[in-house]
Symmetry: C2
Subunit: 669 residues, 2 copies
């Protein structure tokens, strides 16, 4: 039996709707409203436009699809299942939101092949999509040759009212407009409902006008519930505009098909329930049982498999030709896709002998970026408008990634920290070997913490360059002086927090940050200068913590220092040693890596029997007691700072050799 085209569309669309309804009923939890409302746009896009290969979800040149409104994940799982992804079987759908399933309550890249981006925190997905589109355009500019187009795909997004209210999305979309990302196409599911009820209780702005102000191409589809043709035409029109990102406002009914709950907040985040499901089946004319998909719908959707195979085969042919014509470029491209670092990428990372004066670690960081840049073409990044404070430039390179120069790799994010982090995540999600980094003041990690958490959760090797890392910031005062920021980052599972104590440790931190492609790194770097140590090295940083200076035999006291306070420990130890004390200095540039060492190594560095331990760090002591215990002490910063020259702040708040010696002596007494 072949259905007429119109009813086949409807059958396919209702297959999405009812899989969502059934899965959410079964799990007794979930968000049916969005998949029911967005099924037509999902169908139109995935059936008629999306370039992908269900049997190889990682095929490089696929279009990227981001469900920014991640709570509507059953839309995505239904599409993955219906178009034939092995990762989402009908049994997986029946296991929606259950322990160990492939269909968690929000899309998670690390659980489900075919999910491009972990979403749920609103506004993040559309912002990641800006990063995906930047990655595409950068690689296209870098690798494509006349007649040999290796990189060429769209980034599609479905966002809702929530995403459009979040500031992160405003930041990212303003930048996307500036960057003229013509291959970014977003659907705005305009359903007038959020959890608190109708959007008009708080959200009455003219969304499309705002996007026009950003420089986007805007369209409106008035009937997103049934008008598949209008959606398809809008996608075509969006693709035709190549110098602007596009937003298509699609007016829909949340929970379309549910006679009593549709168009209400009640269908946003709760199962329809048995009775309403019966009525919904009636209203949609759906004659199939729970989790039953009509064969005609499968047949239609799964044409994607053959289409995808042939798209990939065609691309493989292009790559093969490219290999012969441009062997060096092809080798670099394929190396990047394999996620391999180039030979000798770290060979120019600087080392330094002892030096009392030294430099600020933000300067060492700049030197490292300059040393890595030429050897690591996949390094791409910038700053949230603090280039000349963060020193995030790659020395020797000029120009930045702009609409006319997408081959450049320096990114001016503007004063948009949260979008920066999300865009860096997006570049990492592109999974094409690019190594994204971005800078701001450490204290403003708070502005982007939501996305830093997603870097950690989604295992994205983003490098955060966070300068001005303590009260050493000085005159800018407490709004700009991080106190609790370092501990708050250390509390985050997966995040590597480095606070290097000199030139060698900065190089070591960069080496580890680059190597860790599955963990984000936060480099906490000083504004002010510090000495280079005699016994530091690049390699020692890999242990997280190590003995920098030692006494003969078992120490009476262990001083643990990081960053700018490391040299204070060394100097205090010298004075204490002269006074006949047996003192060890442990440098701890990365607490997480130290924690992950063997018990034997940790015992060697911090013997359990030595309980007189003192940590010195110009930050909150919070978190340090797992090393100093109940019997240790600390010279830390347990209040907000003050506006004054940095040296004055440090002195007034007790970061002096004298104070360290006094406190250490008291501890030993």
């Amino acid at each position: 039996m072949v259905a007429a085209p119109a009813s086949l569309d409807t059958l396919c669309i209702n297959s999405i709707r009812m899989l969502a309804v059934d899965a959410i009923n079964k799990s007794k939890s979930g968000h049916p409203g969005l998949p029911m409302g967005c099924a037509p746009m999902g169908y139109a896009l995935w059936d008629k436009f999306l370039k992908h290969n269900p049997k190889n979800p990682k095929w490089f040149n696929r279009d990227r699809f981001v469900l920014s409104a991640g709570h509507g994940c059953m839309l995505l799982y239904a599409l993955l299942h219906l178009t034939g992804y092995d990762s989402v079987s009908i049994d997986d759908i029946k296991q929606f939101r259950q322990w160990g399933s492939k269909t968690p309550g929000h899309p998670e890249t690390f659980e489900t092949p075919g999910v491009e981006v972990t979403t749920g925190p609103l506004g993040a997905g559309i912002s990641n999509a800006v990063g995906l589109a930047i990655a595409e355009s950068h690689l296209a500019a870098k690798f494509n040759k006349p007649g040999a187009t290796l990189v060429d795909h769209y980034t599609y997004v479905v966002m809702g009212d929530g995403c459009n209210q979040e500031g992160i999305a405003s930041e990212a979309c303003s930048l996307a407009g500036h960057l003229k990302l013509g291959k970014l196409i977003a659907f705005y599911d305009d359903n007038h409902i959020t959890i608190d009820g109708r959007t008009d209780v708080s959200f009455t702005e003219d969304v499309l006008k705002r996007y026009e102000a950003y420089g986007w191409h805007v369209q409106h589809v008035a009937d997103g519930n049934t008008d598949v043709d209008a959606i398809a035409k809008a996608i075509e029109a969006a693709k035709a505009v190549t110098d602007k990102p596009s937003i298509i406002k699609v007016t829909t009914t949340i929970g379309y098909g549910s006679p009593n709950k549709g168009d209400t907040a009640g269908v946003h985040g709760a199962p329809l329930g048995e009775d309403e499901t019966v009525l919904t089946r009636q209203q949609l004319g759906w004659e199939y049982g729970p989790f039953e998909v009509p064969q005609e719908a499968y047949d239609q959707f799964r044409q994607a498999i053959e289409r995808g195979a042939s798209l990939e085969a065609e691309w493989n042919q292009t790559l093969a030709t490219y290999r012969t014509q441009f062997p060096a470029e092809a080798a670099e491209f394929e190396r990047m896709l394999r996620g391999e670092l180039p030979e000798g990428w770290d060979k120019d990372l600087p080392t330094a002998g002892p030096d009392e004066k030294g430099l600020a670690t933000r300067k060492h960081s700049q030197i490292c970026l300059g040393a890595l840049g030429p050897n690591l073409p996949e390094l791409i990044g910038g700053s949230a408008d603090l280039t000349h404070s963060n020193y995030t430039d790659i020395k020797g390179e000029t120009g930045s990634y702009q609409p006319e120069t997408p081959e450049k790799r320096y990114l001016h994010f503007g004063v948009r920290e949260h979008a920066m982090a999300a865009i860096l995540n997006g570049i990492a999600y592109h999974d094409s070997g690019l190594i994204p980094y971005g800078g701001t003041f450490l204290v403003f990690a708070d502005y982007m913490r939501g996305s830093m958490r997603l870097s950690a959760l989604s295992e994205l090797g983003v490098i955060y360059v966070l300068t001005h890392d303590s009260i050493g910031v000085g005159e800018d005062g407490p709004t700009h002086q991080p106190i609790e920021t370092i501990p708050s980052l250390r509390a985050m599972p997966g995040m590597l927090v480095f606070r290097p104590g000199d030139a060698n440790e900065t190089s070591g931190a960069y080496k580890l940050a680059i190597q860790n492609r599955k963990r984000p790194s936060a480099l906490c770097l000083s504004r002010q200068g510090m000495a280079n140590q005699a016994n530091s090295s690049i390699d020692k940083v890999a242990k997280g913590g190590y003995v920098l200076e030692d006494c003969d035999g078992t120490p009476e006291l262990i001083l643990i220092g990081t960053g700018t306070e490391l040299d204070l420990c060394v100097q205090a130890a010298k004075q204490l040693t002269e006074a006949g004390k047996k003192v060890r200095v442990v440098s701890m540039p990365c607490v997480e890596l130290f924690d992950e060492q063997s018990d034997a190594y940790k015992e060697k560095v911090l013997p359990n029997a030595v309980r007189k331990r003192m940590v010195v760090e110009a930050a909150e002591s919070f978190g340090w007691h797992r090393f100093i215990g109940l019997d240790g002490d600390s010279v830390t910063m347990n209040r907000f700072g003050a506006s004054a020259p940095g040296g004055t702040c440090l002195k007034e708040f007790g970061f002096t050799v004298e104070n360290l010696v006094a406190k250490a002596s008291a501890l030993l007494a």
Copy 2:
């Protein structure tokens, strides 16, 4: 000598410019660009419009002025000094950015009377201003009577390109448009320069069109460097529009007057230096020495003193009349201004006897809000679109704060967490006794952390209602399950983090949160139910931690629990006791308050000699070692969670009585 009006204007404007130049030169640090460019708008506003009383900076009915671009603080300090505030003498200006001065590197309310809002983190100030305007309109609706206008002032803001790029500002300004805050007037200092250079490297959107999309009234002053009349006319026009907030884009030259550094990023954040200052004096025709203000300028500016005195006197007369006509309302108004809580405000906070089943603490929270609401009219708050998840409604009340109903006190913030926090701060900055609270999921505290930090720094008693506080969230999965969020908040100086363990502790947490008008509180509340304890009480929460269940004599083991894990401790202790162990259970609903108790009290609860201690909390262990030391253990959550029913998550991750007993027994072995 009386100068002609035009040149008097110029003299006044250049007085601002040169005070900024001189102070920043002297301190060798600061941001001269903004004050030099914005001096005309500062002068126009403060000399011709701003309603304030320099001799009583706290006069209630003053206009509020917010320098959202806080780095330009010398603009504000100059205006405070020139108009006669005692808080900023010429000597204070000479002490710019020095230890202990009244003129820190960014404006800080707690340092300088006359500073309304602590600014520096970009975008926050304009968002606080939305809160100030909400507070004004709410109190006006509540207290003003025909013929007796007690509350009637404008909120003025100066924001720059940076503020306009920040997402927090987008969120807040979208909401301000929806709320039709007609008495909010923002100047946008359009100077085309940020730290990375010309704004066109990243910021080319049409800002005014965006504000139009938000529903604002928009204007443009083309020559903000000299055209004081145009600025004044724009302010008049903005005041005439009463049903929309207004933005006035004022095109200026950053560092106006500096021949070589003006209109460059070089003047944004660095002193002009000696040579350029000489040239700037020449260019501006400035014949005065460093820190010298011509008497004519003082005379003009300080008319504000007399004006202010008479404005306040007039208002005092209004208040006196109001007192006689509306004694009850006047008493409430004046009580609020004194910051006193009403008699019996806490009398209905519920207590509960033991109950194995209990409720979720988010439900207890709802009950508390319902119990406080009628007795505490100054309570005002809402949710970032999670009303029916956070249970932030005040039971028995209907309707919300909307343009037509500003007398209502429930705020629909939309999906705008960061703006919510900033608006709550703004309501607190209004300093009129209002007690602001706002809800979202605990995990999304990350989205608003920048403003939570400012609550803590600026000593604002904002109450954050943060529900869904652990993996107990369940199906929504790791993007929605806080792990590190609680420790990250505990690391913040000043913040009170409550995680109540039952009904009594929830009431206790609310009592303390309301009482602490100088410290913000974060209430971490569960999605799932928990038992009510036999030995908890409202008052015990004030100690932060206390002995909930005890053994005879010195315990062998101390179990420390919070929130949903408290009852697990009690049950485990019961089993361990039955097995002959001597076990104490300590409830620790607020770590910060416990830390602040006397050493004697702390020793009583956690005797130093008892080193077998185990903490149980479904969050990162980070920070707990200062109680469990090197010899304790923990049942905590040191990885991201998973999507599954909440009970399954808790069980799989070890939050069971069995696991507690096993780990405790191992610790005791």
